[in-house]
Amino acid sequence: TADSDVGMTTVNRCLDAAKACNVDDLCQKLRTEYVSACIKPTAKSGLCNRHKCNKALRRFFDRVPADYTHELLFCPCTDTACAERRRQTIVPGCSYESVEKPNCITQTRICNADYVCRSRLAQFQYDCEPSKTSANGCNQGNYGACLLAYTGLLGSTITPNYVDNSTSSVAPWCSCSASGSRREECDRFLGYFNDNICLRNALMAFGSESDQQPTV
């Protein structure tokens, strides 16, 4: 490749994160469990079983230490190979995307009907609350808590993910078109993901803070 020609190795933090997970027994086991669950087609429809996939995802993010999960999910990237790997972390083909984009308000209603999802969403909105007056953009002032609350949503009705392989913009799979009178409320909800200074700073800080970490 071009990189080896000039005697350089491409730094791909997301690949390093995968390695760190693979050589750890618990991380490797639970990652394999969710990947297997998320890529397995069901006999009936040939599609994946989203319910099982989500359940395995929640198990992974609940039980594996954040040292591993956050590296996999928030690894900083400078090229698309890295960013695509990062986007693929949650197996979005099964856990995230669907044929149509439902309305975000509808999704919130489904989430609020579920005890775990409701509390996770509330936690996210609390820990990632943006602030114009706070120095770091977060009302609670804690990046780690915001990222943890973000991962708490993975595998729920409002699973967020990177929207493409070139930016670090995140959003749940829903839209605010056709929101009628609730357009403003909907935009505010979606803005919590794709236009949130606290979350954006937390994601960016994650990359630079752990720059000095030794790579295995």
Partner: protein
């Protein structure tokens, strides 16, 4: 110079990329390959002694040309469960029985 004592059959570890496993998958993801290596001298049975003899002269005398292994062999007695990875084309795969979990002389 001290004679090197042969290591007994045991589980060893090596970090490799998935591509290096030789299974036809292209992925730069690193995995821990666990494999079995070492001597099984202590596990020689009468069977092995007899087979050694049979290979040398026993079979020929009886008009046979059979080949048999005449020493116990260090092999996995159990494999690690499934292992998943993302390949270089952004597709996930799950593969089985790649790494040894336990080793034994058989």
């Amino acid at each position: 110079k001290r004679a090197r004592r042969p290591k007994p059959c045991s589980l060893r570890e090596l970090e490799l990329t998935v591509s290096e496993l030789g299974l036809g998958y292209e992925s730069d993801e690193t995995v821990m390959l666990r494999y079995c290596s070492g001597k099984c001298a202590a596990h020689r049975h009468n069977y092995d002694i007899t087979m050694e003899h049979m290979m040398r002269i026993g079979f020929r005398k009886k008009g046979r040309k059979d080949k048999v292994s005449n020493k116990p062999c260090c092999r996995p007695t159990a494999f690690e469960k499934d292992f998943s990875f993302l390949d270089n084309k952004s597709r996930y795969h799950t593969i089985q029985n790649v790494s040894a979990k336990n080793c034994g002389c058989a």
